[in-house]
Symmetry: C2
Subunit: 324 residues, 2 copies
């Protein structure tokens, strides 16, 4: 019901709409309308009310609500929305839902994560109100060994959505970090539950820094991380950005299922900021330098070392750094 | 405390031990000893008590208790034991424990499973008191793509333990069914939770038919399945068999970590009943016949078709049948 009131207000942002009209259209009492308006105000919506004219929405808070997401999302890919003010980790909660049978297209969003996780068990700083901390449940018909493909899907989606939404020159650093001007704005953590030859479910975790200021980053990452606002000087509304990401996820993931991983690799190559660069490859066994020349059909990075040999770097506990 | 009383009774099976002596050795009152003896009787232990001589254990029930397991298991590989009379599925419960941080070597055993699962979401019939329905939590340092190796580890362990314990000619049908005289006695279901490049945990599920009679199998599997008792004519005590399996799991899994997968493949080849056989390979795409000639370093089955070409069958939704 609150969703219907909000929808009417959003449609009438140019003018006032009377309580009587709202109550007539939705089919509830004027007292009920007044209660929903008050609830929306409490959530941060600024709603002007003029005695003889009615209500008018002046501004929306930068919060994500199920109602606004449902109003803005087209299609039926995102079928189940779980939004939390505060959560340990969206991936943990999404995994629980998935283990209980949540369908593909279930999403978990948190305004703040207290135990946000990055790859290899690292922490991912996830302060309230300034980021997109999101997890999607996926159930692709692929073998567990191919699950790394999904991490490329997520990177392509976020990078393209950021480019479209902000106009900023975002690029992908192999395999799946989204970067702006050499600094990381997004981390991706893909997890899976599987049998040996069958995926039960995957969870695609996305952590995107949106409205961080310099002081929001701890000293150990302030040189390596940035946010969309820091990169452009403008704050962004997270709801619209989230809608862009989810809408693009729907499209790109569908293309992936129809055309296969080669389609994702094509998109990845268009968006990447790694190929052609001198890189330092750091694995547990060794450190070496070379030129990132291509990625192969499995997503492995091909690095040509000075002696001429081409080495294949698999997605794993390997980090690459650009050589200045 | 009950465990200490049971341990003393087990050590004195040849003669009577007085309540006074038990109370002295353990350091509890004679009333407490009497209470523990009664508790053991309720669990199915047959304990003779003669007024002037004391207690003597005449027979043990075929149930698995944490106490007896702890008494019989050497080493510290099995570090946490969870035993249930009835459970949905030991794999499901083991996955829950593992997700909450249960260490490697945690086991879940159920006397009966109400939703026992086999591969590809199939049901695994798990009646009370006649099988070993077991799941082990493992945390190997391998990549997710290598998790199929664990399914070979489990098959080698169960097949070897059954041979040692019963003297029956058990063999492994590729990749991981344990068979006796062409009928299946054990199914293995390995599951994993992972990031793209790192395993969170694995659960090795083992379902072994021990004391089934013909009527315990449903009509659709009675021709394909058997139990140790049906194969030999003798019933077996599950506790001792379970101890054999867990003890061997400790050893074989340690060898696997030290020597790598090639060690497991060697053992697998010694125990297999597939190589050299004419097989029918049934995949989603096609059906063909050939001779199973070997397995490669990744565990893929090499099948030579009549035209001479050797095809590699990966562990997946493929079933093979022996051609009579």
């Amino acid at each position: 019901m609150k969703k219907s009131v909000l929808k009417l207000l959003l449609e009438h942002q140019h003018a006032y709409i009377s309580g009587e009209e709202i109550s007539r259209i939705i089919g509830v009492s004027r007292t009920a309308v007044w209660k929903h308006i008050n609830a929306l105000k409490k959530e941060g919506y600024v709603i002007d009310s003029v005695h003889s004219q009615g209500y008018r929405l002046l501004s929306k808070p930068d919060i994500i609500t199920t109602e606004e997401l449902q109003i803005n999302l087209l299609g039926d890919f995102i079928c189940d929305i779980h939004i939390y003010e505060e959560l340990s980790s969206t991936n943990e909660v999404a995994k629980k839902f998935a283990a209980e049978g949540a369908p593909e297209g279930t999403i978990v969003f948190a305004d703040k994560q207290t135990k946000g996780r990055g790859r290899m068990g690292r922490l991912w700083d996830s302060k309230a109100g300034i980021g997109i901390w999101l997890s999607l449940v996926l159930r692709p018909s692929i073998m567990p060994a191919q699950a790394a493909q999904l991490t490329f899907v997520s990177a392509v989606v976020v990078c393209q959505a950021v480019r479209d939404f902000t106009g900023l020159e975002a690029g992908i650093k192999w395999p799946n970090d989204v970067m702006i001007k050499g600094k990381k704005i997004c981390g991706i953590l893909t997890e899976l539950s599987a049998e040996i030859d069958r995926i039960n479910y995957c969870v695609a975790g996305i952590g995107l820094n949106v409205n961080h200021q310099l002081g929001d980053f701890s000293t150990d990452i302030v040189d390596k991380a940035t946010s969309l606002m820091l990169a452009s000087g403008t704050p962004y509304r997270r709801l619209e950005l989230l809608v862009s990401i989810l809408t693009l996820y729907d499209r790109i993931y569908r293309e992936y299922r129809e055309k296969g991983f080669s389609y994702i690799l094509e998109q990845w190559k268009k968006l990447n900021c790694t190929l052609g660069h001198e890189v330092k490859v750091i694995s547990q066994e060794e450190v070496y330098f070379g030129t990132a020349i291509d990625i192969d059909a499995d997503g492995q990075l091909m690095v040509k070392i000075p002696e001429g040999e081409v080495r294949y770097v698999i997605v794993g506990d390997v980090s690459i750094r650009y050589v200045q």
